[in-house]
């Protein structure tokens, strides 16, 4: 598969397709939570390689605080965006193409009283007004 991003980067994958909605349907299962906790140190349905230590470094380099509004592109179920909101007090906007992942992330935000939104959208066509955010992040979205 070949996909065009903006006008200057061609992303080439092999011919596989991954059903991320299917994957996110099982992420809250006990065994998945055990594995994620052991590998990443988190419990957010993470499928990237951003460890808890690296997520904490993101909070630093993005200078996140209670006044910040963070965009997490390709957030899946909210790692690291929701975690960063919980640890820094910032608000967070999750965006992804997997609605199942966003459903899990939005539920967690509601449970933990985290302010923000979850939006089904491509990172290349964000339905967000100009200059609305202080910070943006993504983990292993281009791969």
């Amino acid at each position: 598969m070949t996909a065009k991003v903006d006008t200057e980067m061609t992303i080439e994958f092999n011919d596989r397709t991954v059903d991320f909605d299917e994957r996110y349907r099982v992420i809250e299962h006990d065994v998945m939570q055990r594995i994620e906790g052991r590998v990443i140190g988190s419990s957010y349905g993470a499928n990237s390689y951003t460890t808890k230590v690296q997520a904490d470094q993101l909070a630093e380099v993005l200078a996140l605080g209670p006044e910040s509004l963070l965009l997490d592109i390709g957030s899946g179920a909210g790692w690291p965006g929701v975690y960063l909101a919980r640890t820094t007090g910032c608000r967070v906007v999750l965006t992804d193409m997997t609605i199942e992942g966003l459903r899990v992330g939005a539920s967690r935000m509601a449970r933990e009283a985290i302010a923000g939104a979850a939006i089904g959208a491509s990172g290349a066509a964000l339905p967000i007004r100009d200059e609305a955010l202080e910070a943006a992040t993504c983990s292993d979205v281009f791969c």
Binding site: V61, E134, T137, C143
Partner: protein, 129 residues
């Protein structure tokens, strides 16, 4: 996507991301191998792409060593829970994920695939628009 991020960030806003990709200066065969395990070719590289999108203060940190350790940990944790995972996601999906992890681990160890943390900032006053 970088242009989209630039647009939605306020002047002075920060962008930080992790990315996995083919290493620079690969032979054609090595590049094919990186792409076969599902990773992108960044072409001119992330600093150039960010610069074109209008970002400044661009910094790239190689985090491949941590990536190798984390991927190996995913592989080992899956092996340790193999029976439960085969029940949950199916034996075929389990085997597929583990096979891909092994191939990627070998590609990292051979220097074909790397992971980076990239940080950049939208300038407080844009010079590009």
């Amino acid at each position: 996507m970088m242009r989209a991020c630039h647009r939605v960030l306020e002047p002075g806003g920060r962008f930080a991301f992790f990315v996995i990709g083919a290493a620079n200066d690969l032979s054609a065969a090595q590049r094919r191998r990186a792409l076969e395990v599902g990773h992108l070719d960044a072409g001119p590289g992330y600093p150039a792409l960010l610069d074109r999108a209008g970002f400044s203060a661009i910094d790239v940190v190689d985090v491949t060593e941590a990536y190798l350790a984390t991927l190996a940990s995913w592989y080992e944790a899956y092996e340790a829970e193999a029976a439960a995972l085969e029940d949950l996601i199916g034996a075929e999906d389990f085997a597929d994920r583990q096979t891909r992890r092994k191939r990627t681990l070998a590609s990292i160890e051979d220097g074909v695939v790397r992971r980076f943390r990239v940080t950049a900032r939208r300038p407080p006053t844009d010079q590009t628009e």
